[in-house]
Amino acid sequence: MSDLNKLGLAEARDALRKGDTTSVELTEACLKAIDGADALNAFVHKTPEIALERAKAADERIKAGDAPSMCGLPVGIKDLFCTKGVDSQAASNILKGFKPEYESTVSQKLLDAGSVMLGKLNMDEFAMGSSNETSAYGDAVSPWRREGEDTQLTPGGSSGGSASAVAADLCLAATGTDTGGSIRQPAAFTGTVGIKPTYGRCSRWGIVAFASSLDQAGPMTKSVRDAAIMLEAMAGHDPKDSTSADLAVPDFEAMLTGDIKGKKIGIPKEYRMEGMPAEIEKLWADGTAMLKDAGAEIVDISLPHTKYALPAYYVIAPAEASSNLARYDGVRYGHRATLAQGDGITEMYEKTRAEGFGHEVQRRVMVGTYVLSAGFYDAYYNRARRVRTLIKKDFEDVFATGVDAILTPATPSAAFGLGEMTDADPVQMYLNDVFTVTVNLAGLPGISVPAGLDAQGLPLGLQLIGRPWEEGDLLNTAYALEQAAGFVAKPGKWW
């Protein structure tokens, strides 16, 4: 078989089980693709020895007839996941050289499911960003380009390396994490599938924390079927994360029938933003028509507090970040600043954090510190948490009317050029997450499905939002949308 790295998880799994290829062959094809793609800056720590060792072990298991769900399938792991003995620095200089003595629950589950780790993937520093431009490793680059141009485009963020690697076929799939849209926005920008499951579906243990009440891990894949396979392997209760749900994980792949007859799909009027590009408007209308043609009932719905989701997020997420990132003090791990004669412990903290954190991380930590400080806690933080309650209630009210899923655009535009937003104020960059952030605030599952190309040949995605814990049903609706949209475009290789 040729071009093994271009396979998806399901195809590769089936080929392995039929004996048409081996995990070692698959892994070698990916390692070769990775070595030829340094221009994308997607893989920032390569682990070929670990990969080949695990591939050989997987081939033994397959031969012995003991192959778990992802046995022998090569994947990339976002740098936010702690991986035992392998650099895990959340794309931050403050964790430079950090090699965890433990494995995150999600990456351990993927390992137990037989998958093969190829290396660690680029991302925005501490997952704070929407373009992968805040990374200490430098920008990850999208394999996509506008027709007839060679402008370097963002793969989105924060899971930019994951999106770039999957879109460029450097791996069969990758892990991502999503606090405000960090799986779904990069998936939409790169023509890949990304699902953020219900809050609590995947353990957060061993994933470097950004905003603990919003963070969730999820898969980034080449198809909805692959997302179902990988999410099942990643999900499940973990006693080490008290917010992880003690609920059975269904066989998501078995739920992909493509039959959505009679399903009620809501179209929220508040997502029709002023100044929305005509192409996004059309994509949304086309997606609505596709679901209707597949037998779904389309209903107009209202989510009245949508407008306040981003401002609430930009209180809650920085507040939690300022608390979570207090641990980077130059004492227990990572970077410590060189101190001057007479410097005490306070100077050590202040210099270490000034040197170790990038600009965006510093800004968010300080905004979080401010909104939590005496005198402002109630006016900012408590108010934002009250608004969050209302945002969640908007969704509950809609689901109570029998709506099964909600269809929205995934992003307000196609991918932009790296550096194009440099001069914009931070709020302009935050607007990237306008359609995705509500889902984190409400703890719901959301999936981005590639649905079309813009006039310049760049991918656009649609988002489906599901009921809590009903990822299986959501994946099935996404599967029906995927079938109808028939998105097959791939980026032309220039790297």
Binding site: F98, K99, E101, T198, Y199, G200, S213, P239, T243, A245, H305, K307, Y308, L310, P311, A312, Y314, V315, S322, D329, V331, R332, Y333, G334, H335, R336, L339, G344, I345, T346, M348, E350, K351, R353, A354, F357, R363, V365, M366, V367, T369, Y370, S373, F376, D378, A379, Y380, N382, R383, A384, R385, R386, V387, R388, T389, L390, D425, P426, V427, G443
Partner: protein
């Protein structure tokens, strides 16, 4: 409750101090500007009627799991110290704290 939204340089300096991040004097005006842009954006929240609405504490209605109150970890001093920038004689070493 309405709050004053404008952050001046001395407030920016105070916030940086609270966050334990060293910010040079000449970087304070730009930092204060950025804070004001972000806080101006956040100010929209004042339009929402939140009377009688509980602040969210948990997005899923589950009660947090409790574990048995037993020792289930320990005896891994080497692993705990393995990534420390300065570990000596089984301890994390820091600059003098007590005068």
């Amino acid at each position: 409750m309405r709050v004053s939204m404008s952050i001046d340089q001395s407030t920016a300096a105070k916030v940086a101090k609270l966050a334990r991040i060293k910010v040079e004097e000449d970087a304070l005006p730009a930092l204060a500007d950025e804070f004001n842009t972000i806080l101006g954006f956040i100010e929209q929240l004042n339009e929402v009627d939140v009377d009688g609405v509980e602040p969210m504490t948990s997005v899923t209605p589950q009660r947090l799991k409790r574990r048995e109150d037993v020792v289930n970890d320990g005896n891994q001093q080497d692993k705990v110290l393995a990534n420390a920038p300065d570990a000596r004689e089984g301890f994390f070493a820091v600059p003098k704290v007590v005068e």
